[in-house]
């Protein structure tokens, strides 16, 4: 149970505080309700490039990182298709430094053309390191446009094309800031050895005078229901074939989220799970298997994937996956098996509550979903699910005509290492 207090400032900034006196640390999380889905299709990769620029100087403070380090703190950030999230940890007695820094960069950025150029290079190298220069690194650049034809989930956070980053101008970046980086579009959460009243006072002091800004009304194209199977076959210089099946699921806020998540756990969470036991151990068709959901705000994906052994054909692999999905449609998941994956969900929830940074991050995320208090109900929501609910989801999701199939074939590569 994560107890918290919540207030909203006059400019619309939501502030959440959780007190944990067992730690000498304070964690500060600032979530901005903007992700790659909010980008202009001809200017993709901006939310993420922007995350880099948030460290390059704000109105009154030229160097975010150094000032935080001076207070014994450390920070990082990440961008997803839905959100951009910044987080700092520091000794609790130096909490105000994080407020000073985070409020100044919410107030306004002030970086040079030269710093923009350098960060564009850094992001290009990140693109190469994570997507292009890794075996299987481009999978999501293929899978996204295959599964989304209309919705902006069709591009990854790094961007559709590296040229969008290379061409970004200072004016583009400023426009992006003005549109998304203001108090009503953000959630501030703090956890650790802090006094809630003092934190609220500090929030008012540092964030209270930031202008509210124009509200951003999200109006994204809705991905239509898929009616015919989509298939993509690519050849790459990788050592082994890999197969991906993807199906559209519900939104994170829909009630069906929990049963869908448990369904993916039945398939691959833990070494006793079905794909591991049946397809890796018994049939020895794959060297790796995984099933997971993207859990995104708009309609997400249920992905089943595996790396094939050399003697396994793509056809046999695909058949084996569909067979497992059919079992989920035709037979109820057993009571003990369901209890097992619920217990795993409970345990991982409790483990995450032992970390002061994770608590701040989770509170902000659930507040974005509608109420920070949802954090404390997650285990209950999982425990409410029944075998029938899981079967119903399996029946609605796994029709062959609703599948997107990506066959990632291995070609000519030196395996003698």
């Amino acid at each position: 149970m994560v107890r918290f207090e919540k207030q909203m400032l006059g400019n619309g900034l939501r502030v959440i505080v959780h007190r944990d006196t067992s730690t000498p640390i304070a964690a500060v999380n600032v979530l901005y309700d903007v992700g790659a889905r909010d980008e202009d299709p001809s200017r993709t990769g901006f939310a993420h490039l922007f995350e880099h620029l948030m460290f390059e100087g704000s109105l009154n403070i030229p160097d975010f990182d150094t000032r935080l380090q001076d207070a014994g703190g450390e920070n990082n950030a990440f961008t997803t298709n839905d959100i951009t999230n910044y987080y700092d940890t520091l000794p609790a007695q130096n909490l105000e430094t994080a407020f000073w820094l985070e409020s100044d960069r919410m107030l306004g950025l002030a970086f040079s053309e030269q710093k923009l150029e350098v960060q564009k290079n850094v992001v290009v190298e990140e693109f190469r390191q994570s997507y292009l220069n890794q075996p299987y690194g481009d999978v999501w650049m293929l899978l996204r446009p295959l599964t989304y034809q209309v919705h902006p989930y069709m591009w990854p956070t790094i961007g559709k094309d590296i040229s969008h980053i290379r061409e970004a101008s200072l004016a583009d970046v400023k426009h992006f800031f003005g549109r998304f980086y203001h108090p009503a579009n953000a959630i501030l959460s703090v956890s650790g050895n802090v006094e809630p009243d003092q934190v609220f006072r500090m929030a008012e002091k540092w964030f209270g005078d930031i202008p509210a800004g124009e509200p951003y009304l999200r109006n994204l194209p809705v991905e239509p229901a898929q009616t015919a199977q989509r298939r993509l076959r690519v050849e790459r210089e990788v050592p082994f074939d890999q197969l991906f099946l993807a199906f559209h699921t519900s939104k994170r806020k829909d009630d069906t989220f929990y049963a869908t998540d448990l369904l993916s756990d039945v398939l691959s969470n833990g070494s006793s799970s079905r794909l591991v036991q049946n397809l890796m151990k018994e049939k020895r068709m794959f060297s790796e298997v995984n099933a997971y959901i993207t859990g995104s705000m708009d309609k997400g994906l249920f992905v089943v994937t595996g790396k094939l052994h050399e003697e396994t054909s793509m056809e046999a692999a695909e058949q084996a996956f569909f067979d497992e999905l059919r079992v989920l449609q035709n037979e109820l998941v057993g009571d003990r098996e369901l209890q097992k994956i619920k217990n795993k969900a409970e345990a991982s929830h409790i483990f995450s509550e032992s970390n002061v940074m994770a608590k701040a991050m989770n509170l902000a995320y659930y507040e974005l979903l509608g109420d920070a208090g949802l954090l404390n109900q997650q285990t209950t929501f999982y425990f409410e699910q029944t075998p029938d609910a899981l079967q119903e989801i399996a029946l609605s999701l796994f029709a062959p005509e609703r599948a997107s199939v990506l066959q990632y074939h291995s070609v000519k590569i030196n395996k003698s290492v």
């Binding site: 067992s22 730690t23 640390i25 109105l59 009154n60 150094t66 000032r67 380090q69 001076d70 207070a71 014994g72 703190g73 450390e74 000794p91 130096n94 105000e96 407020f99 000073w100 409020s103 107030l107 150029e117 350098v118 564009k120 290079n121 850094v122 290009v124 190298e125 990140e126 190469r128 390191q129 220069n133 890794q134 002091k205 210089e237 050592p239 082994f240 833990g270 070494s271 006793s272 036991q277 890796m280 151990k281 060297s287 052994h309 003990r336 097992k340 994956i341 217990n343 795993k344 409970e346 345990a347 991982s348 409790i350 483990f351 509550e353 032992s354 590569i413 395996k415 003698s416 290492v417």
Partner: protein, 427 residues
């Protein structure tokens, strides 16, 4: 109006929240360390065996013997074991390193006793089924083949070999063929020789039940858990750093080159080690380090660069690692040498040193946050036979650090002419 130009007042860390673990001993002599704390009802129990790949006679034996502990016993199949552990939501972590084998469970306190009974069974009596070994080796071999297409992996493997020599277990570079040479008998022999109470330390952390000691006694203090009649002798190897200081592993299609540079140096048990850690931090140990500022934040050559000191029980080394665009590879290498030269020749400014000290003390504090983190830090000194004063001493070293002491330490241990250089990719 608030003055946003002015930094809020801060205070530095003077007190370390490290609690020396409560030490006990089981009936069979196994030392037990208890680290009590935390807010949630969760417990971690770690069985730490002081033997690792340094002690194996063939590559992959330690890895396989450790990872297959969970894959079958006399009375239970691999599937039964994983069903049980999954049912209780246990997170089982098996770690086979160069000097240690560690088996940890993270478990809800309410299930601890049931889970420890299972841990006892798998650690004491693994059956190492042939089929499980076949599956593990085949899958790991595939993983190795995939990794060999990653420049960072190639650079890391070759760097180890250059540093310690191909005959030394710390430097041995894994080959595909090694996956075909392991038998069940190798695993059984390794288990018999090294996974026994004479080599074991137990660290329990978290919200411990009152009867934790008797629980550990029941499962791991049993005198039936035999030690080998004769302790095997400690193997002896001599490290032989390559005469050839530069190595290029060609991977022509690569867009980026992975660079790894470094040398063997002192480890944690040496009195100068903390001083060297501080100098290393300034060079490449955090986001505000000189390497990061120069090569990422100023030049934009890379997504990230760092340097680190690695302590092995019988040796130690220093390295700088990064991935850069192939076209700027040489420029990046030149800059790395320049930064190492500057570390021993150019004094840090008062501001730079203050940032370093404040950051390191905060980061030090964070590294002790919570019972699991405390247990991890304690493990660092336990493996090296160091006393807990080590931690307080770090804050003293940090306080006493001056621009001159950083330059002296760097000059003594990190001279740029003494480095091995490995590049994987195109340059």
């Amino acid at each position: 109006m608030i003055n946003r130009q002015e930094t809020p007042a801060t205070s530095i860390i003077t007190h370390l929240p490290f609690i020396v673990p409560k030490k006990g001993q089981l009936g069979n002599g196994v030392p037990v360390y208890l680290v009590e704390g935390g807010t949630e009802d969760i417990v971690r129990v770690e069985l730490l065996f002081l033997a690792g790949s340094y002690h194996q006679h063939k590559p992959l034996v330690t890895y396989s013997a450790a990872n297959l502990l969970k894959s079958g016993t006399k009375g239970k199949t691999s599937r039964e074991i994983s069903e049980m552990l999954d049912f209780y939501g246990v997170y089982l972590q098996i770690d086979a390193q160069k000097d240690i084998v560690s088996v940890s469970v993270y478990v809800l306190k309410k299930y601890l006793e049931k889970v420890l009974a299972m841990v006892q069974e798998i650690v004491i009596g693994p059956s190492y089924p042939q089929s499980e070994l076949d599956i593990l080796l085949k899958n790991q071999k595939n993983q190795h083949i995939v990794n060999n297409n990653k420049v960072a992996y190639l650079a890391r493997l070759h760097f180890g070999e250059q540093l310690f020599g191909s005959q030394h277990p710390y430097g041995y570079r894994l080959r595909k063929i090694d996956f075909d040479k392991i038998s069940r008998d190798d695993l059984l022999a390794f288990h018999k020789q090294w996974i026994h109470p004479g080599n074991l330390n137990i660290i329990a952390s978290g919200k411990l039940p009152e009867n934790i000691t008797s629980m550990l006694e029941k499962f791991f203090g049993n005198s039936n858990w035999a030690r080998p009649a004769q302790e095997p002798p400690e193997p002896v190897y001599l490290a032989a750093t390559s005469e050839n200081k530069k190595l290029l592993i060609h991977k022509n299609e690569a867009l980026q080159a992975a660079i790894r540079m470094g040398k063997r140096t002192i480890n944690r048990s040496h009195p100068d080690h903390q001083r060297l850690m501080i100098a290393n931090a300034l060079l490449g140990g955090f986001f505000g380090s000189r390497l990061m500022k120069n090569i990422r934040q100023d030049k934009g050559f890379t997504y990230g660069i760092n340097s680190a000191l690695v302590s092995l029980v019988r040796d130690g080394y220093f390295f700088v690692g990064t991935q850069v665009g192939a076209e700027v590879c040489q420029a990046a290498i030149d800059q790395i040498y320049q930064e190492i030269r500057d570390l021993r020749t150019k004094p840090a400014s008062a501001e730079e040193l203050m940032t370093l000290k404040n950051y390191l003390s905060g980061s030090f504090l964070r590294s002790f946050d919570g019972p699991f983190a405390q247990a991890d830090r304690f493990k660092e000194i336990l493996v090296f036979g160091i006393t807990p004063e080590y931690f307080d001493n770090f804050l003293v070293e940090l306080k006493n650090t001056t621009p001159e002491s950083v330059m002296d330490t760097a000059g003594q241990y990190l001279h740029e002419d003494s480095l091995i250089e490995v590049v994987a990719g195109k340059r």
